[in-house]
């Protein structure tokens, strides 16, 4: 049998990419340039997001299911799978509420073949984080039961109104599930109730997990079921669930799931003497007054404990706008266009000057996302290094750090904002209008 491949190694080694093969010394025998390019390539890989304005389910109801079984005591993730999962879960809770302020979250644990409620479906991040911290002191034990956990999640999401999304995210470290009945039936009911399940596997791909994700996400299991490669990948897979999911065609066309919600915008009061709040019965100074029943609550967003009106601030709504109006991807600029501008528009970082002859090494980037545009893909492949990125609408040039910052944190283009009428639709309403029109066009 011929086991030798063309490269000289064994055939099964062909698919392995060795990072040390990619790196080559430059003319002076130094690695600095190559390392810098690798760092750049890593950043660039993260740059390209899906910027199609999609209709998204902004009001989310998500159940996070944690595997607390024996398999989580494995030490392949540092310090253990168990501790790392809890750390990432805490981070997930923080990020989730930062990006989805008017959404709800609940946590369920799988242990000893049972599903345990860790924290109730609710909108207060500190409660969830407290519950997760308490889990740290416990030890993982027994086998997990996917069916029990899914049934419990289904029960918790049962009352969710039709305008909210129902989602389950499972961190699954085991390779088995210890179920009392037929899990396929459970999956069927989940599908009927429009519950979407995402799974992050810590060990290896499990057929039933793939099946669950495929059936509850209209046949799409590639983007919803992922098995981690390392700690960093684990974090990425888990935090990907923070972005609100795109509404599915089936749901929006049926005009189900779209309706108006009555909400109260309370006014803040400042008091000289403390009084009790209606939500926690604590003595506090100041708070918010429900516009309907005039009861005092201490924190927002919440539901009025007296009349049940959803109380939010307009700033909470504004937090979700960037999901609806994503910033466009910026294009990489090649050396021919790059020479005119010497520093970044926003942070004044001097750009690298064009070398007379460009010594260039190919830096291959594996696992680039599916949303990469053709130009971006070619830019990545060539490892183009003018270090300049251009916003397609305002034509200003930016450095890579500003690119990352603008897309990941700020969601604004400094160039477009700094030009009068550059982003002609800087009016929130008009911009929404356009993005929504595109959305409708996209969906129909």
């Amino acid at each position: 049998m011929e086991l030798r491949s063309t490269a000289g190694g064994y055939i099964w080694e062909d698919s392995i990419q060795r990072s040390w093969d990619v790196v080559q010394e430059d003319a002076g025998g130094s690695l600095a340039g190559v390392v810098a390019e690798l760092v750049q390539a890593g950043k660039r890989k993260r740059l390209h997001y899906d910027t199609t304005p999609l209709q998204r389910g902004i009001i989310r109801h998500l159940i996070l299911v944690l595997d607390l079984s024996m398999s989580m005591s494995e030490k392949d993730l540092r310090p253990t799978r168990y501790q790392l999962s809890i750390s990432y879960a805490i981070q997930f809770v923080t990020d989730y509420f930062e990006q989805n302020p008017i959404s709800q979250l609940g946590i369920i644990g799988m242990r000893d073949g049972l599903a345990n409620l860790v924290s109730q479906l609710g909108g207060n991040p500190t409660e969830h984080i407290g519950a997760l911290q308490a889990l740290r002191k416990q030890e993982p034990s027994g086998d997990p039961s996917l069916q029990n956990a899914l049934e419990m999640a289904r029960g918790a999401l049962y009352h969710v109104p039709s305008h909210g999304t129902k989602e389950v995210v499972i961190i699954f470290g085991s390779l088995l599930s210890c179920d009392p009945g037929d899990i396929h039936k459970t999956v069927g009911t989940l599908k009927a109730e429009h519950v979407r399940v995402r799974i992050v596997g810590l060990a290896a791909e499990v057929a039933i997990c793939k099946e669950i994700c495929r059936r509850t996400n209209q046949g799409d299991s590639t983007s919803t079921y992922g098995v981690i490669l390392n700690e960093q990948h684990f974090r990425e897979l888990l935090l990907a669930s923070c972005t609100p999911p795109a509404s599915t065609k089936q749901k929006s066309s049926a005009s189900l799931g779209s309706d108006l919600m009555r909400m109260g915008f309370p006014s803040r009061i400042v008091e000289t003497s403390p009084s009790f709040c209606a939500c926690h019965s604590r003595l506090i100074k100041g708070g918010y007054i429900c516009p309907r029943c005039k009861v005092k609550v201490c924190s927002l967003p919440t539901e009025c404990p007296a009349c049940g009106l959803t109380l939010i601030l307009s700033t909470h709504l504004a937090r979700s706008y960037h999901h609806l109006m994503p910033l466009r991807n910026w294009d990489e600029v090649d050396w021919n266009d790059a020479k005119k501008v010497s520093s970044c528009f926003s942070c004044l970082l001097p750009f690298p000057t064009a070398p007379s002859s460009v010594p260039r090494f190919r830096v291959s980037v594996s696992g680039s996302t599916t949303n990469v545009t053709a130009t971006a893909a070619s830019a990545i492949a060539t490892g183009g290094a003018s270090g300049r990125f251009r916003c397609p609408s305002c034509r200003q040039l930016f450095c890579i750090d500003c690119d990352l910052f603008a897309h990941e944190v700020m969601h604004n283009c400094p160039g477009c904002e700094a030009a009068a009428g550059g982003r002609k639709l800087s009016n929130g309403q008009a911009a929404t209008e356009v993005s929504m029109a595109t959305t409708n066009a996209y969906l129909s």
């Binding site: 779209s258 108006l260 009555r262 915008f265 601030l313 609806l324 926003s346 910052f405 030009a419 409708n440």
Partner: protein
């Protein structure tokens, strides 16, 4: 999160390590240079006076710590411009000669020592702290360039003269600048503590709502307080910006005393602020304006797809922004009003009691 959106009024300062107090700080000053905004102030304060005060303020900021840094960005009607530092200039080597061009009133007033009459060693010039001079000269020169390059067509929007400036652009730019200086790779965490001071005269920012909100949330994430020094009418968005990020909002009632406001309220940096009693805003308008009639509402209706706010359920049953057709059943539920049953209704139910009831006072009972 509650602290974020104004639930707790006093900004929470949770990083009280001794080490951090030693950190130098970066001040990014955003100066609103809208000509109309400055021209229509009452009581009047001219841009010259304001800039004079601001330069003293920046100098005192730089004087507090040797490694303190400053940046000045002008937010103009049609562009934004770095007044200091200027891209492409190297500040490590100070030019021996002053670069300020003589001629305009402003520069003569502000920096008398900046006049280089072929004699680069006037006593004032030599005695001035180098860093101060660099900043002052750069700001004055760039401001002059900016204002002399502004024509009337620049301040017109749709044929109408407006005092709008690009605060959102200036905020975005300054955050990116802060991101580079503070977030720069360093083993020992951040090497600078940054804050933003906005000196604003314009009143209407409604068209920049979403970008300004994005900036506010980014600033909050980066723990950068946005201080607002407001001349003229109050602006709701800037109030929210200061409140959300834990900055100081100050409305100048006597703009001519600007220097005093600046020195007392805005000079202390983040580490010092928790020991001071700073001016706070007692009431901020957090209510929302509806998209349909621009009315301020306290109970509104929100489209769950695009989060647009209505003061009443739309008549045609679909969202005006995203064209989503709402579920008619749910809509009917929202429109339902409490039913007040008058005496005429119960008579069909209980015919026997009719005579008794008609004599009695009208019987108001809640409907089913």
């Amino acid at each position: 999160m509650n602290a974020v959106d104004g639930s707790s009024h006093v900004p929470q300062v949770g990083f009280a390590s001794e080490l951090e107090q030693e950190l130098p700080s970066l001040l990014v000053l955003i100066l609103d240079t809208s000509p109309l905004g400055w021209g229509t102030q009452s009581p009047p304060i001219s841009l010259h006076e304001a800039v004079a005060s601001l330069l003293i303020f920046i100098n005192s900021h730089l004087a507090l710590n040797h490694s303190n840094e400053a940046a000045v960005i002008a937010s103009h009607t049609n562009c934004i411009k770095y007044l200091y530092p200027v891209p492409g200039e190297d500040y490590s080597i100070l030019a021996p000669k002053s670069t300020v061009t003589s001629g305009t009133e402003s520069s003569e007033e502000m920096i008398p020592n900046g006049q280089s009459n072929g004699d680069n060693g006037t006593p004032n010039d030599a005695s001035m702290y180098r860093q101060f001079r660099v900043v002052n000269e750069s700001v004055m020169k760039q401001l002059e360039l900016l204002l002399s390059g502004t024509s009337t067509s620049d301040i017109e929007h749709n044929g109408k003269i407006s005092d709008t400036t690009l605060i959102s652009g200036a905020l975005s730019t300054s955050l990116a600048y802060i991101n580079r200086l503070v977030g720069g790779v360093n083993d020992n965490g951040p090497k600078l503590r940054a804050r933003i001071l906005v000196v604003s005269v314009c009143s209407d920012l409604a068209s920049q709502y979403v970008p300004i909100m994005n900036c506010i949330f980014a600033a909050q994430k980066m723990k950068v307080p946005i201080d607002i020094c407001k001349i003229g009418n109050n602006t709701v968005f800037l109030q929210q910006a200061a409140d959300t990020t834990g900055g100081v909002y100050m409305h100048l009632e006597h703009p001519r005393g600007m220097i005093q406001y600046l020195m007392t309220a805005f000079l202390p940096d983040r580490a010092l602020r928790k020991h001071l009693v700073l001016p706070t805003q007692s009431s901020i308008d957090f209510r929302a304006a509806c998209f349909c009639h621009k009315r301020i509402v306290d109970i509104g209706y929100v489209c769950n797809i695009c989060l647009s706010i209505y003061c009443q359920p739309p008549a045609d049953g679909s969202c005006a922004i995203c064209d989503t057709i709402f579920d008619p059943k749910e809509l009917a539920d929202l429109l339902k009003k409490p039913v007040v049953v008058t005496t005429t209704v119960p008579k069909t139910k209980t015919k026997k009691k009719k005579k008794k009831d008609s004599d009695a006072t009208p019987n108001f009972t809640p409907g089913p």
